[in-house]
Amino acid sequence: MMQWETVIGLEIHTQLATRSKIFSGAPTAFGAEPNTQACAIDLGLPGVLPVLNAEAVRLAVRFGKAIGAEIARRSIFARKNYFYPDLPKGYQISQYELPIVGEGRVEIVLDDATVKSVGVTRAHLEEDAGKSLHDDKLGGGGYSGIDLNRAGTPLLEIVSEPDMRSPKEAVAYARKIHQLVRWIGISDGNMQEGSFRVDANVSVRPRGQTLFGTRTEIKNLNSFRFIERAIQFEVERQIDVIEGGGTVVQETRLYDPERDETRSMRSKEEANDYRYFPDPDLLPLELDVAFIVDAVADLPELPDARRERFHIQHGLGEYDASLLTGSRDLADYFEAVVAATGEPKLAANWVNGELAAALNRADVEIAQSPVSAAMLAGLIRRILDQTISGKLAKQVFEAMWAGAGDADQVIRAQGLRQITDSGQLEPMIEAIIAANPDQVSQYRAGKEKVFGFFVGQVMKESKGKANPRQVNEILKRKLAGDP
């Protein structure tokens, strides 16, 4: 059996969070009535001209800095010429030879907690196209409807090196870029609305071979699950083709999530000849130092740096640190809890444990969490001062999640305060010892396992409110026969 190696590179189109379009003053909001957000420029009417949106440039510069890339002091807009109904001018304004963002790198954390560096070849600014809608009723049948609201929306196309070697790595990289663009506030990353779309270039080659195999491009993957499934399918398909004596054809393919397969896009089959040339309507984009400095001045601490800091400053493991830097909101939340409690490990356990599970169940973002960082810190403080046990704390958390108030309110209302008063515990324990002479004998005969039985009895009697450490201490003393 031949050993195959998968080679994957991704092109990610992320919509930049501007109010107006990249070359016009039309709004970019999602979901408007067809063609109500497409102005004369977006429609490519005769005589209109593009003028570049400063904010799109600023956001691209932020991304470049975030991946440690060189920001081009001079970049050029080019026209990519092809005919398609959702492309009003017959060309897309993009960047070709001189993109605004040069080579950079990002680190991805794999399942086994190893860190892999993935190269970003470039990132360039371009305009989005419109949408074709298929509805058999349109025009009495046989027509597609064109909505150009999305035409001219600013995109940053982020092109990776072919550095990924498995569908899982590709997903980790896509997630990383997704995390980053939201982290630095350049995109909402909304995949349902098409703000974050992935094209995957996939090829296979015999392990050990240095030359790349023929690649196919899977277009417009709009969920992380689809990225993984589509690539997985495509890898298997390519291997089947080659092992069956065939050759892989370089082509564009589409992933069909319902059938879980990729298929050739017939309409894009003909060899494209995009006839790129510098757009004569736009001049070279020249950025001065002041613009770049200003664009990145308020760039937050980046996820990799923060992960590293969580590791060093808070003593967290790679896995916890990586989870807690999944988004900026989450990392901020965690640090707010740490600041209020001084207990990073406990905070990490709670944020990555109960809180993450609850968020997941309710399918909400950290920003919408009903339990705020202050509330979680309040809960942790009550664990630390032994007002409640860790076990009861989970009960308190659930009540807080359900809207029953902060930790102190819940503890008071439900009478969950831990019994730490030895004057209350000692008689309870004495009564249990008196009621179970057989077990006492066994214990004293050296059968130490019986100790657990006594702890259980105390907890049962106290309805879980007895302080476990105190229970242990008093039990040991009383069973030993001391007063």
Binding site: G47, L49, V51, K89, G90, Y276
Partner: protein, 484 residues
């Protein structure tokens, strides 16, 4: 009335010697009577023109009138005018009503100008004879069997025939200067970026520039004063202060250094045209100018370079005409490809299709470096030639076109022969420099143009040199028979 200068008309209107409504009616009457023989207008907007004239009369009476208040002009049909058809001389846009005004149109309207209509032109400004128009050829008022030049042939003929006080034009490779020369009027193509391209239907974006055709340099200055200036809607618009062109008309010629490029007087130039041009430069010498020979060694390559750059840009600029959002759409398309191919083949004429194909070819994979990139490099050499020349001289002069107006149909079957008409005008577009054409001594009763080329943003100097020449000569005053 129609022979008065714009300054005289403006003074008359202010003195109420006649009203703008009367002046406008006068021009509309001339258009109705004389234009059927010329075909210089695609659309005449009588009612809106009279309404604008009335408005101008009121503004004049109220003392709030702009500098061109009540002056009847015409726009080349390449400038978008809201509410009035903008065809660009093409079947493609035969029913297109722009939802906005071009900046040039807006500015002239703000100055009070009255728009009589839209002038005929080569289809999408591609042509040097006005014969590629979907609306039929324009005839030269000096000899109706001859072409007026192109692509702003309608504007040139209308000005020469006194059917408007002045007209706008556009110049991509000589489209203002060559028809100005062939029709015996004054035309100026300003520096690239001087007038906004917003709302001006693009042919070749890095070469296109709006300008004026008028009966004199002084008239052209009046109009250009109102047209020129920075426009934030055009990324290629120059944010450079605009001097008052009328105020600077009387600058002295004495000491002016004029360069005659030897490449502009070689084979292909009609000897009689050369003689006429030399006679004009002698006149300028008499006025105190210092005339010397110079060289623009790469200028013979301007035609080949242009026929790569301009078609490349046009092939892309005209891709938007696909029958979907506006413009001609074929009947009963079988499928999407059929919609595109037939709408475009039916909507565009032969010359436009030729240029789209040339442009598509020179940009296509495997040919880009040999054609497009090579042309952009030689373009640099051509621009450098001019800068070297401007170290020695202030203005470059030569013929505008190699011959006088040629008969209709003479070059329609030979695109290359047609292209060589622009051999002296193209280089200025490639470099982005301002250029002008003014009438000098005619040959066999047909007008001849003297071309003036200045350095970047030196329109004021060109206009003043032309004005000084026109004060000393009378060629620009001549009107064609039947149109006096």
């Amino acid at each position: 009335m129609q022979n008065k200068s714009i300054a005289e008309m403006a003074a008359d209107l202010r003195l109420r010697s006649y009203s703008s409504v009367e002046l406008t009616r006068h021009y509309l009457e001339r258009i109705a009577r004389l234009d059927p023989g010329l075909n210089s207008f695609i659309s005449v907007a009588a009612e809106p023109a009279l309404a604008a004239a009335e408005h101008a009369d009121r503004a004049i009476a109220a003392g709030t009138a702009g500098p061109l208040a009540g002056i009847p002009i015409a726009h080349k049909d390449i400038f978008c005018t809201s509410g009035l058809k903008t065809s660009c001389g093409s079947r493609m846009l035969d029913r297109f009503i722009a939802p906005y005004d071009a900046t040039v149109v807006e500015r002239l309207a703000a100055a009070g100008a009255v728009v009589l209509g839209k002038t005929n032109m080569d289809e999408f400004a591609m042509g040097s004879s006005n014969e590629t128009s979907y609306y039929g050829p324009v005839r030269n008022p000096w000899d109706p069997t001859r072409v007026p030049g192109g692509s702003s042939g309608g504007s040139a003929a209308a000005v020469a025939a006194r059917l408007c006080a002045a007209a706008t034009g556009t110049d991509t490779g000589g489209s203002i200067r060559q028809p100005a020369a062939l029709c015996g009027v004054t035309g100026i193509k300003p520096t690239y970026g001087r007038c906004s391209r917003w709302g001006m239907i693009a042919f070749a974006s890095s070469l296109d520039q709006a300008g004026v055709l008028a009966r004199s340099a002084a008239d052209a200055a009046c109009v250009l004063d109102e047209m020129a200036g920075f426009d934030p809607r055009d990324s290629t618009s120059a944010d450079v202060a605009v001097p008052d062109y009328v105020d600077s008309l009387d600058e002295e010629i004495a000491g002016l250094r004029i360069g005659l490029p030897k490449e502009y007087f070689g084979a292909g130039l009609d000897g009689r045209v050369a003689a006429s041009v030399h006679e004009a430069t002698k006149e300028l010498e008499r006025l105190g100018a210092d005339v010397r020979d110079i060289s623009l060694p790469n200028s013979p390559l301007s035609v080949p370079v242009y026929y790569v750059v301009a078609p490349a840009e046009c092939s892309s600029n005209l891709a938007r005409f696909d029958g979907v959002r506006y413009g001609h759409r074929c009947e009963d398309p079988r499928d999407l490809e059929d919609l595109y191919k037939r709408s475009r083949a039916e909507g565009f004429g032969a010359e436009v299709q030729r240029r789209i194909m040339i442009g598509t070819y020179v940009l296509s994979a495997g040919y880009y470096d040999a054609y497009y990139l090579k042309a952009q490099k030689i373009r640099h050499l051509i621009a450098d030639d001019f800068q070297r020349a401007f170290e020695e001289v202030d203005v470059i002069m030569g013929p505008t076109a190699p011959t006088t107006a040629f008969p209709l149909g003479a070059k329609m079957d030979d695109p290359v022969a047609m292209y060589l008409n622009d051999i002296y005008t193209i280089a200025t577009n490639l470099a982005g420099l301002p250029g002008m054409s003014i009438p000098v001594a005619p040959v066999d009763g047909l007008p001849v143009g003297l071309q003036l080329i200045g350095n970047y943003f030196q329109e004021a100097r060109l206009l003043s040199v032309a004005h000084r020449f026109q004060r000393a000569t009378h060629w620009h005053l001549a009107a064609p028979e039947g149109f006096q």
